[in-house]
């Protein structure tokens, strides 16, 4: 509905510097964690743990650095459709590769 | 469970008729409604349209029904596919390796390492096809319309399909994946023959294949025993004419050599029969001349002789001293074929090939 598109039209959100620095610190810590996790031998799981941490990091970047946390809802829908489409592409490609 | 190919054909055709039936009924329904509405509610008869903007029940009905119909049609198509992919094991079938390259199929019968540009199979036996293309070639598709079956030959991998002929006859084989210049001429024949004829054909091929090539005289003179060049013209048409021209004039693809000009110095590996044999066996690196190691050594000699005969000066130009032949035979260990052929009882080989088809599992 048209109202959704323009819900937050006139609010200009100014993020405190502290938030950015906090997010950055969290990202650095997660980078450390992902390197540390790679040293532990988890066999098949290694890559999934790495991907999980990477997803967490990218969520932080998208929400705060890229301001999605403060954008109107339509931007959320956009992101969900784009990522949804991508995940579908991956999963369906593996409908072939997983069974080869 | 092994099923006859007749079942695959029937299943595909049944699926086709069911889908066509559903389609035709719906199509006629839609078009009839369209025409009736267009006439009945023409503005001259119906100046003011009714005020209808929708009907949810109807919408749900014509969403759900096509959905159910879709699921049904999926299963109809799945049935025949399941048969096609229910491959007989290698022990219970005759394995034919299908080698596709620009622009010819080669059929190889691996147990005996023999090859042919046409496909021969016995009637009533499951045929398992292993489909390949060389790494430096392109994708082709092996298609036998009569058996409703098709699978691509992809460089770098082996694909599988199977069929079983229920009737003696000759069937078309097409390349169905676009592969360039002579895609339309990449046509071959499938000869479905009686088991007896198949045995005969196989014996002939096996004998050819395992005749030792230390008989230098035989390969030096193509006509000496009438053995070398018997099918050379046919092989040349299938494997060489696409690029080098039906008369050897060359130039049909970029850089394809002419066999009839006199500039012998430009032949990269030389102009004699042993040189040509070497070129055929190894290919020419950095050019589009590929290694034709899919052909048997006898076939390669046959081709070399045929190519030599295309030149106006004839084979005389291609003469080489007997030492050259001996060198070649050493180089490719051609004489050792003799040992193989001695150790390899032809009859048993055929038994193996034909009888292994698992009559016990066949209905």
């Amino acid at each position: 509905m048209s109202a959704n598109d323009h819900a937050h039209e006139h609010e200009v959100h100014i993020t405190p510097y502290k938030v950015y620095i906090g997010v950055w610190a969290a990202l650095i810590v997660l980078t450390g964690v992902t390197v540390g996790a790679a040293l532990v031998d988890m066999k098949q799981m290694t890559i999934f743990v790495a991907l999980f941490i990477a997803c967490a990091k990218s969520l932080l970047v998208i929400l705060y650095f890229m301001h999605i946390a403060y954008e109107s809802r339509v931007f959320w829908w956009f992101l969900i459709s784009a990522f949804g489409a991508y995940i579908v592409f991956v999963v369906l490609t593996f409908a072939d590769y997983a069974f080869r | 469970m092994i099923l006859a190919s007749r079942d695959i054909i029937d299943s595909v055709d049944k699926a086709w008729w069911i889908l066509t039936g559903i389609s035709v009924v719906l199509f006629i329904g839609i078009m009839t409604a369209l025409v009736i509405f267009a006439i009945k509610y023409h503005r001259s008869r119906n100046p003011r349209a009714a005020d209808i903007s929708g009907n949810t029940k109807l919408e749900i009905a014509w969403t759900v029904l096509p959905t159910l119909l879709s699921v049904y049609m999926f299963f109809v198509g799945y049935e025949g596919f399941a048969l096609m992919r229910d491959m007989p094991s290698e022990e219970n079938s005759i394995v034919v390796e299908v080698d596709a390259r620009q622009w010819a199929f080669t059929f190889r019968y691996p147990n005996a390492d023999i090859s042919s540009p046409d496909m021969y199979v016995p009637v009533g036996k499951p045929i398992r096809c292993h489909l390949t293309a060389p790494d430096d070639d392109v994708i082709h598709s092996f298609y036998i319309p009569y058996f409703r079956t098709k699978e691509d030959c992809v460089p770098g991998r082996t694909n599988y399909m199977w069929f079983q002929a229920d009737k003696i006859g000759v069937y078309n084989i097409f390349c169905a994946e676009y592969c360039g210049k002579d895609h339309a001429r990449m046509v071959s024949k499938l000869h479905v023959v009686s088991e007896e004829d198949y045995r005969k054909w196989l014996t002939q091929r096996l004998e050819d294949r395992f005749r030792p090539i230390d008989d230098v005289a035989a390969v030096m003179d193509a006509k000496s025993e009438g053995i070398v060049a018997s099918n050379a013209a046919e092989l040349y048409t299938v494997y060489c004419a696409s690029c080098h021209g039906p008369k050897g004039e060359g130039g049909l693809v970029e850089g394809a050599r002419s066999f009839i000009d006199n500039a012998t110095d430009k032949w990269k590996k030389g102009v004699t029969i042993p040189d040509m044999f070497r070129t055929l066996t190894l290919g020419l690196d950095g050019t589009r001349m590929k290694a034709f190691d899919n052909l048997s050594a006898w076939d390669r000699f046959a081709l070399a002789h045929h190519v030599a005969s295309l030149h106006p000066d004839g084979p005389g130009r291609s003469d080489a001293p007997i030492e050259e032949y001996k060198k070649l035979i050493d180089e490719f260990k051609l004489a050792e074929q003799k040992k193989v052929s001695l150790d390899f009882p032809v009859d048993e080989a055929i038994e193996e090939l034909v009888e292994k088809t698992g009559s016990e599992k066949n209905k």
Binding site: T31, A38, A54, S58, V61, V90, Y97 | -
Partner: protein, 222 residues
């Protein structure tokens, strides 16, 4: 591209705004539309890299051991350091926008400079990494690579392709940041009209986002 997205005035202005910027159909400044356009553009970048990640996943599933071996040949501390560099550059980019929002042009310019500097550091380190591999004879088309197992070849081909594309984006991003810096100095990008800087910031964060996935997938699967 970004020019049109950010600077092109919309023909009818913001038709929905309660406070009309003029009467109907007069061009206006619509930062939301510009950011929307930028996000849609970022989706195309996302899918472009996404396709490469699909190829990576396909080959990883085909050659797991070769990919592990290949990954083992990459230098983890260097990769981790580069990750930190790029994350920090993302922070400075975000701070540049935040500073300009507060009217602190001076700090904003400094932060943009820092971002470009980090981009440079990233590229130099990446160049050394590539250089080391090339010195060992491992690069596309080399005889050494051609002699390796097929799985190894697939790994290095993917490695050069994906990090190469990413590095190209880093360079383009740095160029865009220099351009927006010039516009900020000219006051054409200012606290009232800063969507251009926001959009280039979004682009820069996307570059970061891609590396967040590239790093573990290439360096940490040994």
């Amino acid at each position: 591209m970004s020019d049109s997205l950010s600077a092109a005035p919309s023909a009818t202005g913001d038709a929905h705004a309660d406070d009309h910027h003029g009467h109907y159909g007069v061009p206006g400044y619509d930062p939301i539309a510009s950011r929307m356009g930028m996000w849609l553009f970022l989706f195309t970048e996302l899918l472009l890299f996404g396709a490469l990640f699909i190829a990576f996943a396909a080959y990883l599933s085909k050659y797991p051991t070769y990919f592990a071996e290949g990954s083992g040949s990459l230098n983890v501390p260097v990769g981790a350091f580069n990750t930190v560099v790029l994350l920090t550059s993302s922070l400075t980019m975000a701070l540049a926008i935040a500073a300009l929002q507060r009217g602190d042009k001076n700090l904003s310019i400094k932060m943009l400079n820092a971002t470009v500097l980090f981009a440079g550091v990233f590229c130099v380190i990446k160049a050394f990494e590539w250089g080391a591999k090339i010195e060992m004879g491992i690069y596309p088309g080399s005889a050494t690579l051609a002699a390796m197992d097929q799985g190894k070849q697939a790994f290095y081909n993917m490695y050069y392709t994906m990090t190469g594309f990413h590095a190209l984006h880093v360079i383009i991003g740095a160029g865009l940041i220099l351009w927006v810096k010039k516009r900020t100095l000219d006051d054409r990008v200012n606290p009232k009209r800063l969507v251009l800087m926001e959009n280039i910031g979004l682009y820069w964060h996307l570059v970061d986002l891609v590396w967040i996935f590239l790093f573990p997938l290439y360096y940490l699967i040994a």
